[in-house]
């Protein structure tokens, strides 16, 4: 059975290694500051106990006042998982550092989020639209898209 790690332990580890990166710890996920997500991800990947080698899924929700990115991380070797969240406030010119350098599996998923939600990932090797064509007006999965 894939174990869902207790967010407290993961948050504690993060706090020890990267102070002030964790914004909030909830039962199911840890909210990480957007600026530090790459550091956090790299730590989670390289730490031997956590060993989050796979970015399982990358998703985003539009909460009108903010966007919440959800990073589902998985360690196949240790068979456990954890969830990170990043909050991006506002509606225009949204940027988040890209985790594609950490896990290449983020490459297409970040492009999809850029395409459908309009969040730009800084440091992504190829930040282009993916499902829609270049010049498509707006970002269709936003709640205000009509």
């Amino acid at each position: 059975m894939t174990i869902t790690l207790s967010t407290d332990t993961v948050a504690q580890k993060l706090q020890d290694a990267l102070p002030d990166a964790v914004e909030e710890t909830r039962d199911d996920w840890i909210v990480v500051s957007a600026d530090r997500i790459v550091e956090v991800c790299r730590f989670l990947r390289d730490d031997d106990d956590l060993d989050m080698r796979m970015l399982r899924s990358l998703d985003v929700v539009d909460f009108i006042d903010r966007f919440e990115l959800r990073y589902g991380l998985l360690s196949i070797r240790r068979n456990h998982e954890t969830t990170l969240k990043v909050r991006v406030w506002g509606r225009e010119n949204l940027t988040v550092p890209s985790v594609a350098p950490v896990w290449e599996g983020a490459n297409l998923q970040e492009r999809e989020i850029y395409d459908l939600f309009g969040i730009e990932f800084i440091g992504h090797p190829n930040m282009k639209r993916i499902l829609l064509w270049e010049g498509f007006p707006g970002h269709p999965l936003r709640k205000d898209f009509a």
């Binding site: 059975m1 589902g72 896990w103 599996g105 490459n107 999965l141």
Partner: protein
């Protein structure tokens, strides 16, 4: 991924050829497009271009009630509708805390495994077709798939767009006579698989076309979030059915075929073996299925409590996850889909660069992409 026209890959004396495979091409499995930069026959760079089948399933789901979204999931990976149904209803059940009766769990496993047989048959058939066999193996595999679809038609009345799973169970119990029909199919299927193996596995041409071509290491596969048979072909024994058993999988006896090389041959071989395991599981489901209700009553316009859930299953092409966010209304606030076909495409470029044009087609075939799931 490289941007092809201004990539740095042009330090050649001869200008490479930019070949545009698709969206209308005999072996791009639908409306998929590959921009390939070729130096003679050798592939220099590859960029997949997609979105030609984008239907906005996530957006459509936000305007439909939870039950109605089931019909949308049929159309994600249209070769494995049952698995998609299952992944989605499991997410809703986790969100709304609905229990599933035991008989329904067995039914779900049975349908998902039959679907895996049908989907892998298509994957292999089209793969051999890509290899240049003039649709003979494809036709033979189509025939077996038709029989699976006949079984599905008996159970739920449709052959492709099943909408069989329901929140809290399945829509129908088994019809009378299903037991005999299933056994007849499974008995025949074992013979047919032996025939496929005779037709394919020992053929020198096939071996030379696939053995050692485009290997993918396990480390790279994990890094690129590759899941499903492609990951297992690379030597990583990760299958959600074993690692995180859902429904009745913890009671199933089955092996997860794993190979070490991650080349085209292994990707094909793993699928061939998985079909056998699925047939085994289907037989076991039929034998061990308990009596009882097949559905926990749940509202048609169910209102899950505010919250969010990510729930994934081992679908035919890999880990199919649904990320549902509820705001307490009858429609999901957000329905994110982690589609295996889409994410497996991350490695396409890596698999193809340095190999021949003919290998590009085969590599694409062994990745087993379904465009409906890539574009959603």
């Amino acid at each position: 991924m490289n941007v092809i026209p201004d990539s740095g890959a042009t330090n050649y004396d001869i200008e490479p050829v930019l070949l545009n495979l698709g969206p209308q091409h005999p072996s791009t499995h639908g409306v998929f497009r590959i921009r390939a930069l070729l130096d003679g026959e050798e592939v220099v760079d590859v960029e997949p271009v997609f979105g030609y089948l984008h239907r906005g399933s996530s957006k459509l789901a936000e305007e439909r009630s939870y039950t109605q979204v089931i019909t949308l999931t049929d159309r994600l990976d249209y070769l494995s509708g049952m698995s998609n149904n299952l992944a989605y209803v499991r997410a809703v059940e986790a969100l709304a805390h609905v229990d599933v009766p035991e008989r329904a769990q067995y039914l779900r496993v049975m349908m998902a495994e039959l679907m895996r047989i049908a989907s892998h048959l298509m994957a292999l058939g089209f793969l051999i077709n890509d290899l240049g066999a003039w649709i003979t193996p494809l036709m033979h595999m189509f025939r077996e798939r038709e029989k699976v679809l006949d079984l599905f038609e008996m159970v739920c009345g449709a052959r492709i767009t099943f909408s069989y799973m329901r929140i809290g169970g399945v829509s129908h119990d088994l019809p009378p006579g299903f037991d005999a029909a299933l056994n007849a199919f499974l008995d025949d299927f074992a013979e047919r698989v032996a025939e496929y193996e005779a037709l394919l596995l020992e053929n020198e041409i096939l071996v030379s076309r696939m053995k050692g071509i485009a290997p993918l290491s396990g480390e790279r596969a994990i890094e690129c979030s590759v899941t499903g048979p492609n990951l297992r072909a690379s030597g990583v024994n990760f299958d959600l059915r074993k690692q995180a058993p859902y429904e009745a999988y913890d009671r199933m006896n089955f092996d997860v075929p794993v190979t070490q090389n991650g080349d085209n041959w292994d990707r094909m071989w793993v699928r061939l073996q998985e079909m056998k395991e699925s047939a085994r599981m289907t037989r076991q489901c039929m034998a061990e299925m308990p009596d009882g209700p097949t559905r926990t009553p749940a509202d048609f316009f169910i209102r899950p409590p505010v919250g969010e859930v990510y729930s994934a299953i081992e679908a035919t092409k890999g880990e199919l996850g649904f990320y549902l966010v509820s705001d307490g209304t009858i429609a999901p606030y957000r329905c994110g889909i982690r589609s295996p076909s889409f994410i497996n495409l991350t490695v396409l470029r890596e698999l193809c660069v340095g190999w021949k044009l003919a290998d590009l087609i085969v590599n694409f075939g062994t990745l087993d992409i379904n465009v409906g799931e890539v574009d959603r």
